[in-house]
């Protein structure tokens, strides 16, 4: 919980990692990829405030104590969601697998949710693994990495028929929240990787599932926004938006946030720190203090305390069925705005 100016914010960090990218975990022969990957992540960290930068060796592998301090003690996070990312071709024990994440989660009952993952290229074996993982970790969500390399293939899309049995399985197992990585850092080789059309397709086909587009399709935010306005079950995961822009490029951040609020709406944007790329503390505190810098933004939707409460936790709590203490909920709302025409603008003109 974070409290500022008498307002209390329930914080759900929708995008956490507990990875091991140290050299001892690099797959022999794939060292350049494992090394390049984590150094690329490290470069992203440089977009945050200087005092939050880590040396590369700590960034490659941090401890449970680091995680607990940065996320829970200093970071204000009430409940965190692990977005498990395997990258088994580069990291011997995986980059941050559900197993590793769940081990840490078990030490903090009720405070960490472990999301699983699946890959249609794994076929029957992958389906069985998903069933096992669902049972073992109580999966309510999955993180999909369509850019992951797998036995010579360098990417897949949700349009592939092979993805259908997995989406069916998610419906069957109650894995309601499908987080799809659409953004930096890596792209499937031969597809238009920024294309979010495959999420559009899946979201239409599976209205009973929620699709959270992680990193809002950066750099193709516009395609994501146009798609999200059409699909009631598509959400914006704003990891990287706050971490990568709020400090480094504040005016772009204001524009991106303004556009997301206009097109997607405050009920469908989910905060995620992307820890350990960025620590949650400065992101949460900065976002609570944030507003548009000046008049240039007068035709963007107004940002209220309520807007921030929703984005920082209440929206994700709704998707994941997290129990929010009564004092941290919003007063019963007469009606919430969900983007576009009904959102009051900063300048007052609707």
């Amino acid at each position: 919980m974070y409290e500022k100016d008498g307002e209390k914010y329930f914080i759900v960090d929708g995008h956490l990692h507990f990875w091991d990218a140290s050299p001892s975990n690099w797959v022999p022969g794939a060292e350049q990829y494992a090394k390049g990957w984590i150094e690329c992540f490290h470069a992203y960290q440089s977009l945050g405030p200087k005092e939050t930068h880590w040396p590369l060796d700590k960034f490659q592998k941090y401890t449970e104590a680091d995680f607990e301090r940065d996320v829970f003690e200093d970071g204000h996070v009430d409940v965190g969601i692990f977005q498990s990312t395997y990258l088994n071709e580069w990291y011997t024990d995986g980059f941050n697998t559900a197993r590793k994440n769940a081990t840490l989660a078990a030490k903090h009952p009720g405070r960490l949710i472990t999301n699983g993952r699946w890959d249609p290229r794994e076929g029957e074996a992958g389906l069985r693994q998903l069933e096992e993982d669902a049972k073992r970790y109580g999966l309510k969500g999955a993180k999909l990495y369509t850019a992951e390399w797998h036995q010579g293939s360098r990417g897949w899309t949700l349009r592939q028929p092979e993805a259908r049995p997995f989406l069916d399985k998610c419906v069957e197992l109650g894995i309601k929240n499908i987080h799809v990585h659409k953004g930096p850092t890596i792209w499937p080789l031969d597809k238009d990787a920024f294309d979010v059309a495959d999420v559009d397709y899946a979201a239409t086909t599976y209205p009973e599932l929620n699709f959270i587009v992680e990193h809002v399709g950066l750099p193709r935010i516009e395609d994501f926004c146009f798609m999200a306005t059409q699909e009631p079950n598509v959400y914006a995961g704003c990891a990287v938006v706050i971490g990568g822009l709020m400090h480094a490029r504040p005016r772009f951040f204001a524009k991106v946030m303004g556009e997301l609020l206009f097109w997607v709406g405050e009920d469908k944007i989910l905060f995620g720190s992307d820890y350990a790329i960025w620590e949650p503390k400065w992101q949460i505190e900065g976002f609570v203090d944030w507003n548009y810098p000046d008049d240039e933004f007068s035709d963007y939707p107004a940002v209220t305390t309520e807007t921030k409460k929703k984005i920082l936790g209440l929206n994700a709590a709704r998707l994941y069925g997290i129990d929010v203490p009564a004092e941290l909920r919003l007063p019963a709302q007469a009606g919430s705005h969900s983007g576009q025409k009904d959102a009051p603008l900063v300048g007052g003109a609707a």
Partner: protein, 233 residues
Amino acid sequence: MGDRAHVLAALDEVYDPELDEPITTLRFVSSCEVSPDGDVDIRLRLPTPLCAPNFSYLMAAGARDAVRRLPGLRHVNVVLEDHYTGEEISTSLHRGSGFAGAFPGETDETELDDLRNLFLRKALVARQARVCASLLGTGACEDAVASLTVGQLPDSPDARRCRELRDQLGIGSADDARAFVTPAGEPIAAGDLRRWLRTARLVGMSLEANGGICRSLLQHRYDHVTSQEVSAK
């Protein structure tokens, strides 16, 4: 102007298709050498080793083709450095085997052409949005702005780039053509101008935000020596 200056000037005309900015101002050209015999060696670098191979290829091939068009030069060698697919792309450029040749069985040229065209269209929308917003910002009314022709636009880098993009998209950039058009060349009606701008502005914001991130990452990657410092321990 010496040979090297000519080569660099040619590279100024090669754009990152995704950001709609020249690869030179983006600092993607790490070195450019011209031998006394007229052999050219160009090294390109990108913000991350994982930057999309398709865009990487488009820029590298664009650089090669732009320099090859210059008279008086011999062999043109373009190398993409520090990239996951750098070797495949550089080899393919050397052999002239195209994007599909760089990744046999994994992709085809059609997909690349579609992508290039898609980004030309996006770039045009984004540039027009900036021109339009600045005109409306000075108090011009929608009717007046919507009726402007290409020749009537105040001169600006955005307006000049709009002409180039229109030519590349085959929708023409004659002085009497309407200035604000869809990527298919259809004029935007005055009554639709604000709504169009709202959408077009989003496209521009997306390109700009991404360009900002790319610049920051490139700076981190090449203006510091983080990895060397750590591995030297």
